[in-house]
């Protein structure tokens, strides 16, 4: 019995380790998935944000103070994310960057909002996140409805008549698929011959490809992520089926070509905000050079890069409002920040906190496996 009580007290006491913190630096939180299914995105986010923060500190920081990045793992899961958010709130941060995945971000929104902490999400495109009237919430990524519009326009422009839409039942991919479907139906002249989901994380998609083929589409629009897109392209090629594929922005990842193989990947179109390589701003070029030098690779996806833009926006807001007061910063971000040069282009936010601007472009994979920006209209 005594042993039992001791055990219990021991366990409890572990939770009461006091934490002290220094005051001199400006603390900015970073919430990203470092474990779980999206660990690769989160680890890239961490690398990018830390690299930029070092750079900013080298140039003297902001308002004469250095910045410090405090990262927490959200595990790509809403519940872990809620805990991570609560933990970050206790660490004296003025703003937080992140995270990847709309439902994960959503679980943290009200926590940061109640604690009056500016949150800038980077990979959370669900429409409703900015429809709730949260004053301190922003995002550097575009919304699903915009992409849905661009997707429909592109499909229409190419002149496809029979369209198959395939998603993977995640919040994001299904949302995009539905947006695209509605837009296509509104425009008319296009027949949706297939609308269903695959199960992400598998290796063999021949079953669904065989089924797709039997519907005889002119084009397949896949709204899911690059691992599945790569396999779909590869297995489609093996089946000897030559139908054009268009992907959503989650297929924008260099690994797509690696997975599919060059032969299968070439000719694949996808929608995406411009990748950093295509930006000729000095910001982006310098950043990529530094990133390559430090980590000997390029960032995996544009989503991680958008977390860098979130950091730049936060720093700019502190600098521009001469304060770390959340209300002043939020006001600055909403109304004062105009066309700030970021890694992925010019950054401004509207009243809802969404990024302003026509971000989506069409990319094509060329014969060498490069992502080539297609001319706009």
């Amino acid at each position: 019995m005594v042993k039992k009580i001791l055990l219990f007290t021991l366990c409890l006491s572990l939770f009461y380790i006091p934490m002290g913190f220094a005051k001199s630096k400006i603390k900015i939180g970073l919430m990203c998935p470092q474990t779980g299914s999206w660990a690769s995105e989160g680890i890239d986010m961490k690398k990018i944000v830390n690299l930029l923060a070092e750079d900013i500190n080298k140039k003297g920081g902001v308002l004469g103070r250095k910045i410090e990045i405090i990262d927490e793992d959200d595990g790509g899961d809403p519940r872990t994310a809620a805990l991570a958010a609560n933990k970050l709130c206790t660490r004296g941060i003025v703003a937080v960057i992140g995270t990847y995945g709309s439902s994960v971000t959503e679980a943290t929104q009200n926590i940061f909002n109640e604690n009056k902490i500016i949150q800038i999400a980077n990979g959370s495109t669900a429409i409703r996140l900015t429809e709730k009237g949260y004053k301190y919430f922003f995002r550097t990524c575009p919304r699903d409805d915009e992409q849905g519009r661009v997707a429909a326009k592109t499909i229409k422009k190419f002149g496809f008549k029979r369209v198959a839409i395939l998603h993977d039942n995640t919040t994001y991919a299904k949302g995009l698929a539905e947006e695209a479907k509605q837009n296509l139906e509104k425009m008319g002249g296009v027949k949706i011959v297939f609308f269903d989901a695959l199960t992400p994380g598998e290796r063999d998609y021949t079953t669904i490809l065989t089924k797709l083929q039997s519907k005889k589409p002119d084009v397949v629009f896949f709204t899911g992520y690059y691992p599945e897109a790569g396999l779909l392209l590869k297995q489609k090629k093996e089946m000897g089926w030559n139908v054009p594929f268009i992907g959503g922005d989650a297929t924008n990842n260099p690994d797509l070509v690696k997975i599919a193989g060059l032969d299968a990947a070439k000719g694949f179109y996808f929608l995406s905000p411009p990748v950093p390589q295509d930006l000729d701003t000095p910001q982006a070029k310098a950043f990529l050079k530094a990133y390559q030098a430090k980590y000997h690779a390029l960032p995996g996806s544009v989503w991680a890069v958008l977390s860098g833009d979130a950091l730049l926006a936060i720093v700019k807001a502190i600098d521009g409002s001469k304060s770390t007061d959340p209300d002043k910063m939020a006001y600055y971000l909403h109304y004062k920040l105009k066309d700030m040069p970021g890694l992925t282009g010019k950054i401004s936010f509207n009243e809802k906190g969404d990024r302003v601007g026509d971000l989506y472009r069409v990319y094509k994979v060329d014969d060498k496996g490069n992502f080539v920006l297609q001319p706009k209209d």
Binding site: P227, E238, I259
Partner: protein, 301 residues
Amino acid sequence: MELFFQQLTNGLAIGGIYALIALGYTMVYGVLKLINFAHGDLFTLGAYIGFTLLTSMNLIGKIGPLPTLFLFGIIIMGLVGIAGIVLERIAYRPLRSADRLAAVVSALGASIVISNSIMLIYGARFLVYPHHILPNFTINLLGMKIPFMRIAMLLLSIILMIILYLFVQKTRIGTAIRATAIDHGAARLMGIDVNKIISVVFFIGPALGGAAGFMVGLYYGQLNFMMGWMYGLKAFIAAVIGGIGNIPGAMLGGLLLGVIEALGAAYISTSWKDAIAFFVLIIILIVRPTGILGERVADKI
């Protein structure tokens, strides 16, 4: 009708992999009555070792692709098999006399450890096998286009299973394995070194899983540290459908599960595919509570 047969072959190819992994589950279950939840992660390990071998040693240019793959296959099976033995020593042997569920929790812990170790070593990003190792052409069979590799994979799975079946049925060690599965105590009395037999089983099962991992890596090309969980779960279902502990049952269950998934996706809904597979599993178990080939054990009272 053509669509039906096309989907049938798709299902059989997937099912072959399930069956190969399911064999590891079923063998371990046979001798230890333990659900080795870490088995799927050993499968992943096989795929990653294969990646390392292929990218670090350039043997293909020297001895040609097929001998290389054969050699690598043997190395992988050996290494993953040893990993299986180590796993059993560390995580399961101390729990052999304990409650069965304690071993289940230990197995789940081992699954987390293996998959996260792989992540720490290889990173969380998807890895991709080198391309163009395998011949890539399709065979026209009754109007269906079937990639040659799918047929080769199914055949290889079946060959491995037949070898295993003959090994268990015809050899001395196989007999000892069967005896151990029935009764540890009696096997020991007959002079069988039960610990050794369990090690043998923990070598063979994971070795087959590792081979399956290598095949998946070679054919599908794409690796991720989490991939074993889903394959492991599917293989476990396959083993149960066939009657867990029963080697032909695992083969049957694997192929059947693959076909059910393919046909369910084709004719009902792809987004409900896994739910359909589980539903069929439940129906099979309601009708046959110990699986298709599982023995009905009446209670001895």
